[in-house]
């Protein structure tokens, strides 16, 4: 699958979100969650998942014995996450917070996270909200802590992008008809992370080029 425009349909029905997103991604979303979790989720590591939704990425990290805090402003999505977590025994039970990203300063202590992760959430934010979120993420990270953001991205190269847009068009149209909304593939996320003062910013593509994963670190104290 080349895009996640159906996200909006899924978001309107949290109970069906997981089944839908798996179907749409042809199973690659699980691989992406596992890939990110493998990089950041060490036993006991304190991980913050921004815009955790139904907790796919959070639970992938919790399975590796990390202590996860998932935050999302949608109570319905969080209730699904809670149910899923309750079905599984974790060393550290995930903590779920119903807050929007602009409330991060209310719930996070400085230098309280070893890693901050987020999947398919940055593209949902306004630029000024993203800038705030990245600032808060940096404050919440310990020196040397890792930031890892995954989002949908258009492929590089004009012809590839055109083909991708054409393939995506029918699904964009159908999703808009059903929900009158659409997703916005990210551009320039790595630059925004750099502008927020993170070090070692890297951008990589995952799962057939449909995702970008931006990783960075908070500079260790001199």
């Amino acid at each position: 699958m080349s895009s996640y425009v159906y996200m909006k349909v899924l978001e309107s029905t949290p109970e069906r979100y997981d089944r839908g997103i798996r179907l749409l991604s042809g199973g690659t979303i699980d691989a992406l969650w596992a890939e990110i979790a493998a990089k950041v989720a060490k036993p006991g590591a304190r991980i913050l998942d921004i815009g955790c939704g139904t907790g796919g990425l959070s639970l992938a990290c919790a399975e590796r014995d990390a202590a996860v805090t998932g935050l999302d402003k949608d109570a319905g999505m969080l209730s699904v996450a809670r149910k899923k977590a309750a079905d599984t025994g974790f060393l550290h039970a995930p903590r779920w917070l119903e807050v929007g990203v602009m409330e991060m300063e209310d719930v996070l202590s400085p230098e309280s996270c070893d890693a901050v992760v987020s999947c398919l959430a940055m593209s949902e934010l306004l630029p000024e909200e993203r800038a705030y979120t990245l600032r808060q993420a940096k404050l919440a990270l310990v020196p040397g802590g890792v930031l890892m953001l995954a989002d949908e991205a258009a492929p590089e190269g004009d012809s590839a992008r055109l083909w991708w847009r054409l393939k995506r068009a029918p699904r964009v149209a159908l999703t808009w008809l059903l929900t009158q909304q659409t997703t916005r593939p990210m551009q320039g996320l790595a630059d925004e992370v750099r502008a927020a003062g993170f070090d070692g910013v890297q951008e990589a593509r995952a799962t057939e080029g449909d995702f970008i994963v931006v990783s960075a670190t908070r500079a260790a104290r001199p």
Binding site: K73, D74, G76
Partner: protein, 388 residues
């Protein structure tokens, strides 16, 4: 904005009003606001922002446009698309606190079903005041120094707005019905069917004051609408050619289907109106746990139908006009003591916490996600007439 852009915007907002139309959230200036100018908030439905701006023309006001997913304030708040999280987000991202010297924020009263006032106050430092239910009263509300009056809290739909809603339904329903008739029969039948159905829908909305639109007799309205639209369509067809049975039969089928669609939420055109679709036939009513009530009166201030009133001596709230209740849940959401809740006719209770966390949508999730009947509601005072 140019006249052409305005006209196109009007067409989009009126004919396609069933669909969300989003404008960018953020801070807008009306006039030349300064540090003491009032701060108002609305959702990012294009039509709403335009009308609020018009209603405040000639004044100096800060307008915060929150992300309500391009949906009007009442529907967005009822459907979980405009919550305190969205209000806090725009207050913080706009930097309004640095632009004004006061800390008062006026929210639309109809946002109260989704926005928890206390959480906004805690997190932003702004004192929240509920503005009037209808934006036509905004100017008078500001002139009164930001104090609302009982009659301004009442939500009503004037006739011109009912006709706008009729247009909102008539345009897509008649177009779809006409297209189906055209595809099966021919263009003439399609046009006649669409015109007759549109006229009937207008007639029903215009006559809502007199027609039974809710309760058991509402089916008479839908049946009458179907018969009227079919008769009108047949009459139009008869003007150009001798009548045949098959096109008239088709008209009857498409008109009945259209009326069934309208019947889902005809009376309110809001996702939470107590229609059969929302409650699946299992009626629920507002109930008050009088022992918990401390007379804070938050519920009275947000009720758009004047259902709740303070009782004089006891300094507590009573459900004074249960039959006027829309079940929007605003009072339940705002009560600081969780003294209000919903109760189904079969005894199941929807506690305040569930009302706050589970938004009503077209599929009636609030109706589905409810625990088994509770035994400890003996002291509840029940509102609502039917079902018990």
């Amino acid at each position: 904005m140019s006249a052409l852009g305005d006209g196109l915007g009007w067409l989009r907002d009126t004919l396609l009003r069933l669909l969300p139309h989003a404008t960018r959230p953020g801070l807008r200036r009306i006039g030349s606001p300064g540090p003491t100018s009032p701060v108002l908030l609305t959702g990012n439905f294009t039509l709403t922002v335009r009308r609020v701006t018009e209603a405040l023309a000639g004044r100096d006001v800060w307008l915060l446009v929150a992300d309500s997913r391009g949906i009007n304030v009442w529907c967005a708040a009822g459907g979980g698309h405009l919550t305190h999280h969205d209000v806090i987000a725009v207050v913080r991202s706009s930097g309004i606190a640095e632009r004004v010297s006061h800390r008062r924020l006026v929210l639309p009263q109809l946002a109260a079903t989704g926005v928890e006032r206390r959480i906004v106050e805690e997190r932003t430092g702004f004192e929240v005041r509920w503005g009037p239910a209808r934006l036509e009263k905004l100017a008078a509300y500001l002139d009164a120094g930001g104090h609302t009056k009982r009659r301004w809290r009442r939500m009503y739909f004037p006739r011109w707005e009912r006709l706008e809603i009729a247009l909102m339904w008539a345009a897509p329903v008649a177009a779809l019905s006409g297209a189906v008739l055209w595809a099966i029969e021919d263009l003439r039948v399609g046009l006649a069917g669409a015109a007759a159905l549109a006229a009937t829908i207008f007639g029903i909305f215009a006559g809502l004051r007199w027609l039974p639109a809710s309760g058991g007799k509402r089916w008479l309205t839908y049946l009458g609408g179907s018969v009227l639209a079919t008769g009108l369509g047949a009459a139009l067809l008869a003007l150009v050619a001798p009548l045949q049975g098959i096109p008239v039969g088709l008209l009857a089928v498409t008109n009945t289907a259209a009326m069934l669609v309208l019947s889902l939420d005809l009376a309110g055109t809001t996702p939470w109106y107590p229609s059969t679709m929302n409650t699946l036939g299992n009626r629920f009513d507002l109930a008050l746990d009088i022992d918990r009530c401390t007379g804070a009166a938050d519920c009275v201030l947000v009720c758009p139908r004047d259902v709740l009133a303070m009782t004089g001596k006891a300094r507590k709230v009573s459900i004074a006009k249960p039959d006027a209740c829309l079940r929007c849940g605003a009072c339940v959401v705002q009560c600081p003591e969780d003294a209000l809740h919903f109760r189904f006719s079969d005894g199941r209770v929807v506690p305040a916490e569930t009302v706050r966390r589970t938004r009503m949508n077209m599929l009636g999730r609030r109706a589905v996600e409810v625990a088994a009947p509770s035994q400890n509601q003996a002291q509840s005072q029940h509102g609502g007439g039917g079902g018990h």
